[in-house]
Subunit: 573 residues, 2 copies
Amino acid sequence: MFDHFQPSDIKKYTRDELNVLCDHLRETIKDTVLNCGGHLASNLGVVELTVALHYCFDFPQDKIVFDVGHQCYAHKILSGRYDAFSTLRQKGGLSGFPKREESEYDCYNTGHAGTSVSAALGIAKARDLKRENYNVIALIGDGSFNNGLVYEALNSLKILKTRILIILNDNGMSISPTVGGMHAFLSDIKKQASVQDVPLFEHFGLRYVGVRDANNLDEMIDSMEQVKELLKRESVILHVVSQKGRGYRFCEEHPADTHGVPPCNFIKTGEYGQVLGTVLSDLASERENIVAVTAAMTDGLGLNGFFSQYPERAFDVGICEEHACVLCTSLAASGMKPYYVIYSTFLQRAYDEIIVDACSMDLPVVFCIDRGGISGADGETHQGVFDLSYLKPIPNLTVFVPKDQAEFVLALKKSVDFPHPLAIRYPRESKVIFNQNDFAWGSWEILEQADSDVAVLAVGERMLSLAKHIFAQLKQGGKPFTIINARFVKPLDTSMLDSIAAKTIITLEDNMLLGGFGESVAAYYCNTEKKVYPFAYQDRFIPQGSVAALMKENGVDEEEIRSLIVDCSERNE
Amino acid sequence: MFDHFQPSDIKKYTRDELNVLCDHLRETIKDTVLNCGGHLASNLGVVELTVALHYCFDFPQDKIVFDVGHQCYAHKILSGRYDAFSTLRQKGGLSGFPKREESEYDCYNTGHAGTSVSAALGIAKARDLKRENYNVIALIGDGSFNNGLVYEALNSLKILKTRILIILNDNGMSISPTVGGMHAFLSDIKKQASVQDVPLFEHFGLRYVGVRDANNLDEMIDSMEQVKELLKRESVILHVVSQKGRGYRFCEEHPADTHGVPPCNFIKTGEYGQVLGTVLSDLASERENIVAVTAAMTDGLGLNGFFSQYPERAFDVGICEEHACVLCTSLAASGMKPYYVIYSTFLQRAYDEIIVDACSMDLPVVFCIDRGGISGADGETHQGVFDLSYLKPIPNLTVFVPKDQAEFVLALKKSVDFPHPLAIRYPRESKVIFNQNDFAWGSWEILEQADSDVAVLAVGERMLSLAKHIFAQLKQGGKPFTIINARFVKPLDTSMLDSIAAKTIITLEDNMLLGGFGESVAAYYCNTEKKVYPFAYQDRFIPQGSVAALMKENGVDEEEIRSLIVDCSERNE
């Protein structure tokens, strides 16, 4: 069906043909995601919605912004990317998210929740100012609708005096089930008429239209046509109720587990998140003041067990990263010991609150930062490569990166009594255990001591593994070097820095070069004779790909590091 | 009246005495603020409200969180800080914001908008978990109520299953008049009964009570008693309508201008914001695609003229820093040229959007960052000393710091055609003009060339003034040095770095040492013979005080820099 498919073909289809098209889309998405990995259930739920959109609106002249982007696969297939779809999330292939660079049908890149309404407003306002004429649509799920950014955008609709269509795709799920007051509000509306007065939305300047079964193509198309007419005069919120995972029974029954799925051939190694969950539950049994806070991602973070064991002390506040942070700091200000567990890339949302709330009050919140470093197939918007840089300048904050899961467990245990804000940063998966020594706060550790002019200071498991790997190769050739586990990015272990005899220092980190650990070390030695060679990621956004390939291509290249060590060793011989 | 005043005295007062107390508070606040500077109109508006709070509740056992903190002066005076009140905002004196370190009556520090409801929730939840019993109150203005963080907190009230009192102090002003859909919604409620069903708040789990004249003490106390009863069973939102600046006619008539006032003896020098406003208006007359976006602060930023001249292209979206950023990026994605004008400290709120929206899409947004560097009397929460560090690691972003207002004007003019994201960072005031040369993007400038072994690389007007000042002193003693205007913090001017003959490099910046410009320079030279001495702020929060004193105390000390230059010059002679 898609072999000679042109984006404009869809307009000529009969309703029956459109239904067949939906089936084809569903199969294509399912087969591809099971092969490549990606967001499955969310994309299956919006097939009819997407077909109705492409049937009723005129893309790319009309513009659509996908919130987060977990529901853009059908759109990609319908907008001329069927042939490329098998490369989804692969290195050099189609992105799993909307990408302006990829197609004129994608007008705005997304990846983090809640930006779509703001973005639609900006695009619509630009249209007005340029006296152009087209429709602008934000498609947003009910999970993202909890995010404060959406509220800020809704609040300014009247100020901006423009028209947009907001499609609120309500499947009752964030990644976990959607929670909170807005969810209750929407549930209440759903029970009522499909066109009704909703005072809140009216005050925001939005006409309300509801669709009770967004997986019914006829209903969807009829509503879309109606909305298109309304949109000529006013802004509209089209509230559609869809089923996440629709058409694939396993997904329908397990929408949270199948939100994002790995490829079939994915080998799951030990995850830091699982360790976190187990240890935190153990600690909570001893310490009544321990609480855990997340922003809509208990499962991916390893906290399912904690949430079922300690429901009173576990808070999932929805996709509200800022609020989750302030909740933690205020709990800490009142004597609790909060663990804020979050992906590195999403913690960026709470940056101001980390500075002003957690650290300026010096409160003992523990930030458990998962997916630190390169995260892989999600691409630019999801790499956790900025955190060491943006956390470093914040006073009162200690930044710890464990060398392996044993050290991670130790740090978690010790964190219970640590009286200041603490960031513990780790990648998703773990592959090795180096040793199980206790440590003092702020201290580094010598993993390999060699009588050599080269010392490698490596941060975290990935970098220490790389250093060890090179060490094993060079040791045989008689060129061993010192390896230091630089587990505290902040504070630096200055007594160890002072004691390093080697003339050449190499730093390795899974983070941007600018503002990172290597710069700290370079600055520490900046008025000595020592030479420092920092290896970290170059100043560009890192696209999708495998962790190993991306590390190599972006500035942490095994070959290059080995050559440098060899050169330095020989130079000093 | 306050001479032997104890916090508990208020409980024994008659209503008449309480009214006299209000008058006294108002006079004290007015006199002190006119002398010390501070937030005037906002504090005058909540005098009766604060007296009612202290009359009805039992502080410090009960807890109150002041949103932003622009309305805590009466509370400070009533809670045992009358004697110290004359030291308001002075070095070592009382803070203009709530401070835990200052009094047990302040349970949570604030300074940035929108955190109070989250914080009250955390404190209440901790109370529940510890099986304690007291009331927790968030006092928030209608301006802050637009912030997305508040919505995130409201949304989680039901999830957290706890009880708080939210007092929404509605004076119709943010700093500028409050704007947007939520304001319309509240205006509508205000017209109705004082106890009514408000479905939105009900879904959030909040009982609504209204007070139509919060400057009427009787009405305020009666409502407060009623609310206190309700609070035993459920969460309440007490919506009070007050008059900003109440009781001081000039304030009542000019609430925006008297929100924050400088001390009487304040000498206003040339402000960068005024220059920005003038230049941007000129540019906008030539370029139709220029738009300006702010988050509730047109006046302090110098944009009043632009807003009246180009109302269609000027957007004040309220205290919504994240949304303002995405609005800019989407406008830019659609061909407009947006200038996002904001204080440095508040830009922290939009960090994720700067990375993901502006920079990963490489969109030509100009961030005009006012109050960069130490900002003075507002203290820890308002210093603009993190921006160079947190902006540096973001790819595609150029970070420019003008040496004076002439260069600022040039940069603004050139920015119109600059096709990438650009940050222009400047302090509030300007005192000198060095010269008026054109520049190329990414290039630095030699301000003083000397045949010396020392080169000083200084960022921005304050640091260049300092360097010039020291230069003038040492030149007479025959120890001149090279001064370089390092106007681009990113990218570095590497050809100039390569060409510097001096063996000793000194860097000066109005920013944290960690992650800042000095570290970049240190890292650039890290495998050469050059020695680098970075001067910047040490790793601690910077309290209130004068700019000059704070610079000196926190790591940029004229004396120390001069000695170093002298030492290095002599060593190499």
